[in-house]
Symmetry: C2
Subunit: 162 residues, 2 copies
DNA sequence: ATCCTTGTCTTGACTAGTTCAAAACAAGGC
DNA sequence: GCCTTGTTTTGAACTAGTCAAGACAAGGAT
């Protein structure tokens, strides 16, 4: 695994360093992690790691094309390793959980607005806003009368504001 | 015009105040203005207006549903008066110019991801990234040899970073 | 027309998230 | 194993936006 990371880094023209491997490890565990989550997570393997180092690593990853930065309105930026497949995101308004959606509405509707107003488009970004199952159910439970809470902590950017 | 604004405010259950009318005026002139542009613009009619007042006004507008807040990644939030028609945006990567696009790709593709992962979706937000005509042409001019710059300053959030 | 209530604005301090710069350091080609 | 160059550290700074308390004004009641 670690060797795979190292390989990926070299392929991207980046040196293989401990901070970078740690960050890759965290991103693999948390597919949509924010900077803070990454710092916390990466410190498990590299306790002295500074937030600035993580920002630097992430910037390098994004520039090298091995990570993508997404910025849901009103929340800190998230980073993911899944790049180049033009997928989109579902974001929970309540807890901030993020899930991936493949762009299967067809290639065209995803990429072609009706009137480009002279713009030369190179990417279409789609964000679906709503409530994740857990938050939706929790809201209903409040109304209904709290049946067993049967869901585990979902995949959030690490330190959830659940 | 001013009376129309006043009417709109009252309809939305908000008091009619000078700061609010000023902000409405600026938003009418700059359909996608950021907070700073709004402060600057509104001060033409109300020089003592504070940034915090503008934030307050905008918050009230958004809460009352007469304005919408959009937050393109990496840029300060923008505000627009066009609400309730589920339109989307074209954003220029170079100068930050924003243009509206009607959601004419059809109602369905805009609102239904292939797999909701258990989420209950209430809104689909689409942002098309690219270059506006001016920036695109300017880039080509650099390569070609600078023909006449025939385009006026486009509609940007007021104080463009052209 | 004036008073009073309540929502709005002003003032000032403050936070989160992120970026910048300079110096210490380490990866990896020679 | 050495040297070059890219990375990380350290520390400060910046921007966009928020919070709270008191001054103030809109507009319904008198």
């Amino acid at each position: 695994m670690e060797t795979t990371w190292a390989h990926q880094l070299r392929e991207a023209g980046l040196r293989v360093t401990r901070p970078r491997l740690s960050v890759l490890g965290v991103l693999a565990q948390h597919p949509h992690a924010d900077a803070d989550t990454i710092v916390t997570g990466a410190r498990e393997q590299h306790p002295s790691l500074s937030p600035q180092a993580v920002y630097g690593v992430l910037k390098a990853f994004v520039a090298a094309g091995i990570a993508r930065r997404i910025e849901p309105a009103g929340a800190p930026a998230l980073f993911e390793l899944r790049v180049g497949d033009n997928h989109h995101h579902l974001v929970c308004r309540s807890c901030g959980a993020v899930a991936d959606v493949d762009c299967t509405v067809g290639a065209a509707p995803c990429l072609t607005p009706s009137d480009t107003a002279g713009f030369v488009i190179d990417e279409a970004e789609v964000v679906f806003w709503g409530l994740c199952r857990q938050c939706h159910d929790r809201d209903r439970q409040v109304a209904v009368g709290a049946e067993a809470v049967q869901f585990e902590q979902h995949e959030i950017r690490g330190g959830a504001r659940a």
